[in-house]
Point group: C2
Chain length 226, copies 2
């Protein structure tokens, strides 16, 4: 009837057929999808394009994720998970508060810098008013613990008398995020408007150090400043 399947048997024996690997297929699809969504946005990304770059097929995308939006949500969740896992690597427990906060800012700065794809996913999600993030129970759980670090550092800094009272750890987190996030998210327009590549290693080193300074000066008690 049809000839299109004839080579199958041969292929099956010629090379050890790629075993069925649901989890691998799923993961592969998600990774490709994340790239495409991060690059083109939700509406800009093309399912056919994603499928083509996959080791799998369009059929499988719908088999596993149901719809384009389902795929986007999974990719978003995956991105958050990866990044939070990376952040969990940071350990500042033993450090004095000032050093700990410095490390935290540096780490966040570098981490955001290294995960541009994640930053772009968050930008895109904000364009969509965070509606997919809202639908996802998973993501909120991942993030609530993210301020734990700052809370601990701030508490210790207060106790030691080096930080000033009255600050909200969530707001400190907000400010660190602002400085580190903007550095990646707005690099393109900023560089092009002012004709200076703020992504260059020299510029980044300077901005990084200044981000640290800003946060430390903000949190430190004035009489503790050098």
């Amino acid at each position: 009837m049809s000839t299109r399947l004839e080579p199958t048997k041969n292929r099956a024996r010629a090379a050890p057929t790629r075993a069925q690997d649901p989890e691998g297929t799923r993961q592969n699809i998600i990774e490709v999808a994340a790239q495409e969504f991060a690059l083109n946005g939700l509406s800009g990304a093309r399912i056919d394009e994603i499928a083509a770059k996959t080791r799998s097929s369009k059929r499988m995308i719908y088999y596993y994720f149901g719809s384009k939006e389902g795929l986007y949500l999974s990719a978003l969740e995956n991105a958050y998970r990866q990044v939070r896992e990376g952040e969990a690597q940071l350990d500042v427990a033993g450090l004095p508060p000032l050093d700990a906060l410095k490390r935290l800012v540096e780490f966040t700065f570098d981490h955001h810098h290294q995960h541009e794809e994640f930053i772009r996913m968050v930008m895109i999600e904000n364009i969509h008013h965070g509606e997919f993030l809202e639908r996802s129970g998973v993501i909120r759980e991942l993030n609530v613990t993210a301020i734990g670090n700052i809370e601990a550092i701030y508490a210790k800094g207060l106790a030691d008398g080096v930080f000033r009272p009255g600050l909200d750890p969530l707001e400190i987190h907000w400010q660190i995020s602002a400085l580190c996030f903007f550095n990646v998210s707005n690099r393109a327009t900023f560089s092009k408007i002012f004709g200076k590549d703020v992504g260059s290693p020299a510029a980044q080193a300077s901005l990084r150090q200044q981000a640290v300074e800003m946060v430390l000066r903000f949190v430190t008690r004035p009489d503790q400043l050098p």
Copy 2:
């Protein structure tokens, strides 16, 4: 041959035909387009949708702007122009450096807050790696003068001995932008992750004041701090 044009004459006489208004039509299209692009992104916005919300028609969009991208570019340029014109309202020439910088940060914070549509356009443009901004000669001209204010303030602050030396006005602008931009751009995800509406008046007031403090503490000579 065709019947579809029969009603034309009647229509022409029945109601006093709306006068031709090229500039008005153009402007109306751009305003609607900006809204739609800001809401849905370049690929997410629909020409038919834009046309429908216009007082004009799809035909006119292509008549005036040539293509979807042409329309997007015009909307982007318009957004930048509007915002920069608004910023030009700020006059801090007479103020002492510290007060001037404080005003500048407050003004930027408020201005970004009030121009969410513009912020979203910039976000979208960053998703596109600033390629349209690059194509536009207009926009760069508008912006290069934007740091003029900071340069003047910083120079005066140095002369008065209240600011510390060695800072780059462009980097100060970068930091102010980061704090004020992030406040609008990432409100959705931030609020949803931490279950707190950072857009509420109370939260905004606090973040605003802290943005001012951060910048002032960063720029001020330590021995000049209260």
